[in-house]
Symmetry: C2
Subunit: 270 residues, 2 copies
């Protein structure tokens, strides 16, 4: 019997989860998926993921793969997993992929969205999905800073201390600012690959620019010197969502800045 | 000292709340507001609301009023209340209104939105905000049924058993169907006033039409006969949100059907 290689599109609400990666203690997405697959397939099954999202980070387009020799049809796997998984995690799609496909190593790009609630007062609606920064935002300054971040650069200044990546050159195909609704600022970041906490450090730095505490030129300086301490804080995880992972295909087309984003559009860019 | 009459715009996440109206047991919006005002103003303060939303129903534009003789500036009241209220409730605006203003009796219209998640699989993102109905939806049939509901009618067939309204004639200025994002059906209902559970019974009935279990003509029949039993189930509360309350001004302009709704647009229609 030859093993089938199956790919899942996974959506999750990161609020009560300790991130993607399986841990001895704490509920994780990988842990829940492996436990559910173990029950469904009645054999221990390992799952590989595209992005090791941190505790509290959300996803609507995480990609995960596993092998099985069972002949369960794809929709049966989708429904079976959804009945076994907690409400915070759902399988949106199951497809069969080639043996050489790997959710992380085959990926050619990822799209993350970070939400900031910019109103003076907090929002009950967005409290679990957006970082509340009540200060006034200078959008043209942020846009000028984002221009520096687009393209291929050494992003050493934008990675967490624990990041073990060997190279720090990455290509940002798009960093787009928009207001999906009044007071809700969306920062859409599309790139070929990311360093640890890179999007969240970019967001912290861009907001410093938006709040007048840092100039757009200083962002260029962080890229040139690679000094993490010159960048802004790491934005909290609950504002971040993995929208989609891309495999093959053309690079993301950068979107026009400050154009309203209609929810869900990111799913098309896989 | 003459008492000031102040109007609040209140946003809340209804999930862990027992609705608007103060109760002996259970956290309600009115109860939380009165408790917070009692602390802030140091005297017991009664709050009147525009809509007595049920347990589990959300709001981004609830309107509430109270009297006070304290000279605290409006922004101080907003900030003070927001620091005293739980995270699920926030004050978005405080304005001074005339003595004869009443949040409910002065209202000339309300806008409610009901969300339905129509995908075959549940969505972690929308699980607390949309009713999951995985069946295929016949949108043109629902649109044809919505046409019957628009305008002035006797809505006796669309009210809960416990409804005590003396008259049942109401005017629906708009019942608009749209997809704010793929698989997320929004039903925007704008009317001069509403009977108990009216929006939720309309939604249950419209979905029966969308699922082919009822014809658009049968909706006309429910209006003509006024028999509640001929209408659909009462849709669950967690899909419903009070978007805005209107005072004075022209009626809502019905929106073109099946046009994408960008989040937050409803706030402009007060």
């Amino acid at each position: 019997v030859s093993a089938r290689h199956l790919r899942l599109i996974v959506e999750y609400d990161g609020r009560d989860l300790c991130g993607w990666q399986r841990q001895a203690n704490g509920a994780t997405v990988q842990g829940h998926l492996e436990d559910a697959l173990g029950k469904l397939l009645t054999v221990p099954t390992a799952v590989a993921g595209a992005s090791r999202t941190d505790a509290g980070v959300h996803a609507r387009g995480q990609v995960a793969c596993f092998h099985t020799e069972r002949a369960i049809p794809l929709h049966g796997i989708r429904r079976g997993l959804n009945s076994l998984l907690p409400d915070a995690i759902a399988i949106r799609e199951v497809t069969e992929v080639g043996e050489d496909f790997h959710p992380r190593f085959s990926a050619t790009g990822k799209h993350y969205r970070y939400l900031v609630w910019t109103d003076g007062d907090r929002s009950p609606r967005w409290r679990h999905r957006a970082w509340h920064r009540p200060e006034r935002v200078d959008l043209p300054a942020m846009e000028a800073a984002a221009v520096h971040l687009r393209g291929e650069h050494d992003f050493a200044g934008f990675r967490a201390a624990g990041c073990s990546a060997k190279t720090t050159r990455r290509t940002m195909e798009g960093i787009d600012l928009s207001y999906p609704e009044p007071s809700l600022l969306a920062i859409d970041v599309r790139g070929n690959a990311f360093l640890r906490n890179m999007v969240r450090i970019m967001v912290g730095t861009l907001l410093d620019v938006g709040h007048g505490r840092r100039s757009p030129a200083q962002v260029l300086e962080i890229l040139e010197t690679g000094i993490r301490e010159r960048a802004g804080v790491t934005a909290p995880p609950h504002g971040l969502e993995l929208m989609a992972v891309r495999y093959g295909g053309r690079p993301y087309v950068p979107r026009r800045p400050v154009e309203p984003v209609i929810g869900g559009e990111g799913d098309d860019s896989v």
